[in-house]
Amino acid sequence: MTINTLAKGGWHREQMTCFRKMEKVIVAMQDPDMGMKMRNQRLLITVIPHAMTGRDIIDWLIQKYSICEEEALHLGGMLVRYGYIYPLKEPRSLVLRADESPYRFQTPYFWTSTRWPASELDYAIYLAKKNIRKQGELMEYEKERYSLLHKRINHTWDFVVMQAREQLRASKQRRKADRIVLECQEQAYWLINRPPVCLLHYSALLSLCVCIWLPCFQIEICRRALGRNRVKSSICLEGFVKYSEQYQNHDPIMQGCLPSNPWISDDTAHWTMNTDIVPTPTRLRVERWSFSFMELLNDSIGRREFMTYLEKEFSAENLCFWQACEEIRHGESSKIIEKVEEVYKNFLAPGAARWVNIDSKTMDKTLEGIKRPHRFVMDDAQMHIYFLMKKDSYPRYLKSDLYKNMLAKAIVPQETKKSVFPFMRRQRHSSPSPAQAITQATEEDGRAKGAGTPAVDSRQRSFKC
């Protein structure tokens, strides 16, 4: 047989993952211990070895993947449609019947994924073989293809006929059963990869479009991707490490939380202390405001404090403007136009009550955009004001007395003493936080080495009751 291996991959890569999955199923089906039971099937007067019935296939799928009959029928049908299993009776009907109809596994040589793409030359040889073997055995669509190919690759037609004759001669020397099997396999392969015309048009059109259109699109994307700014990975990675360290104390899973984790102690004190608006926020919360500007703005109390500070500095209009823009971005579509009008009147119009200081270029662009207002029309102006506050007012706020007082006033909740309830059988012992576990271990080691007796954890004592 001609082995014509054209380069794989290219635009049909996306189908390969599906093929690989189906192949996994097929390999499992052929497993000597847990796979399908095969038997010999009679086809007319010849006995075909290693065949199975449709019913067996479905039962095996149901049992192996714990699915229902409907799903198994669907899955098995896909395996047949993509050529991994082919029917022996009615080979042109690629459906899985849940009865005694015989099926066989396609040899991996003929898997679509192995031989992609199916070449014209191989197809021509196949049709020629069929034609020579039995005149008039070609179907209508095959006859059409045959004449089409004959015209297209006329220059190699002698080669085609020669190959066909060679292959027929070689096959005559095989045992009849083998010959029938090989013919079935080959026929099944070509049914999948060169299906009848009606299906062909659609798939050919699709593959043509995909082949031409997709690369142009991809090239555009690649060009844009090439031009992007890339930051050194050492800087990025350091960023992650720093972030994790900074937030470690604020991560209840890593570090526990005060006064206690509500899931463990059934005490909602932590949540009460940390609701959106409380008279005095906790210390951890106020600390977080210094981590980044967004942390401050996302916290209602933080935003309120920042507003108080800006009022002292006579630049509160910046924060008001930013908030108004946020409402436009995330609010209802129907209110966008009136909100934009409001913002223009209050913040952008010449002589406005709370005029914000934006550079002329951004101002012009925004004013143009306002003529046709949409959700993102204020984006550039909002970004400008955001960075203004971030670079200027925010650092000064963090150094201000207002912030420092807030930090000093902030509550550091006491860890609730784990009370002793003799009749409580539920776990009160919080899982040791990872950081504590290490220090505990080293402490215990130290004490053990010194005293010779293991230190008793005070928590364990109370648990003993």
Partner: protein
């Protein structure tokens, strides 16, 4: 035919050349490795989380769950055709939403807490108002031609959906119409995650690629490859500068958005089960990844080591979630139970 083939070949060559250049640019900025950078960080040691609560109530496999922004309520979806809204603190079921189609694959809670959305094999994303006396269907978003694999609210007026028809979509809930369609994936989109500033989102698909999209422009900004099978779960690192993905190839990977490449992979030769879901602790240090082997494994995101395991489920862990306040982690499984750990 020959002319077209020649054109195709030329295009293919150009595309390959560009791809090689991109790879070279990525290599050029890759001057460090995560193990080097995290060498100084303190080790996490063995993380042993205890099971605190088991939420029983579903009658069939649980496919999805999502925490509310208040970190107390949670919604879960099961193929028994119900959405249940839980008060995780008391363990009570607050609302039960009967679904028209039992084949649900995804569920989401709106940040306001007023709405929940769900969708699945019916290709429709249904949004319910759960604050009404009895849960009312607010909208049925019907335009996808494939199953709904994931949905996330931006606000009470906008929602993002990912679908098996390879597209993601931004919908306007007031009109019920599609606003932006994000097309670029060539395989079923399996999951998506929204950035905290809601300007971008990431999606993972069966083409083994993760893509970053700009919500405003509707365009794909970055693509990350490296996985060899479907990406089932995706999440942002809390700082917003990295993306963590979990895949059927049994590995998780972290991709840096600014360096535009993979920085570390989380794999173990003994782990031969695909990743179904993942969630990060609030500092980003711990990754909770649910696997097909019925466990949820815990990874140290900086050191790349496995530091713990949550076992207790009797079937595959299908969904994982950490609430906004980081109090613990919730795992949902095909054994119909939700478990809370910390």
């Amino acid at each position: 035919m020959a002319a077209e083939k020649a054109e195709m070949d030329a295009l293919k060559k150009e595309c390959d050349a560009l791809r090689t250049q991109i790879e070279a640019a990525r290599k050029a900025v890759n001057d460090s490795s995560m193990s080097a950078a995290s060498g100084g960080a303190t080790a996490v040691g063995r993380v042993q989380l205890k099971l605190r609560k088991t939420l029983k109530g579903h009658l069939a496999k649980i496919y999805a769950m999502h925490w509310s922004a208040d970190s107390r309520q949670m919604v879960s979806a099961s193929q028994d055709g119900k959405l249940l809204v839980w008060d995780t603190f008391t363990g009570n079921k607050l609302v039960a939403v009967p679904l028209k189609s039992a084949w649900v694959m995804s569920v989401a809670f709106a940040p306001s807490g007023n709405l929940v959305a769900s969708g699945g094999l019916d290709n429709i994303c249904t949004v319910y108002n759960i604050k009404a006396a009895s849960p009312k269907t607010l909208r049925e978003l019907d335009a996808h031609t494939g199953y709904l694999s994931c949905c996330r609210f931006l606000s009470d007026t906008e929602i993002l959906t990912a679908s098996g028809d390879t597209t993601c979509c931004l919908w306007d809930l007031e009109t019920g119409k599609q606003k932006v369609i994000f097309t670029n994936h060539i395989g079923d989109c399996m999951s998506l995650a929204l950035s905290s500033d809601m300007n971008t989102f990431i999606s993972g698909a069966c083409d083994s690629l993760a893509k970053l999209w700009d919500v405003r422009e509707g365009a794909c900004k970055q693509t990350f490859s490296g996985h060899t099978s479907d990406i089932n779960a995706i999440s942002f690192f809390p700082s917003g500068n990295a993306v963590i993905t979990g895949s059927d190839d049994c590995t998780c990977k972290m991709y840096d958005l600014r360096a535009d490449q993979e920085v570390i992979g989380y794999q173990d030769t003994n782990l031969n089960a695909g990743v179904t879901s993942l969630a990060l602790s609030s500092s980003g240090r711990l990754i909770f990844a649910g696997y097909d082997d019925f466990n949820c494994h815990i990874w140290d995101s900086l050191k790349g080591e496995k530091v713990g395991v949550l076992s207790g489920h009797d079937n595959r862990v299908s969904c994982t979630g950490v609430p906004a306040d980081g109090m613990g982690v919730c795992t949902g499984s095909w054994d119909s139970f939700l478990k809370l750990w910390n």
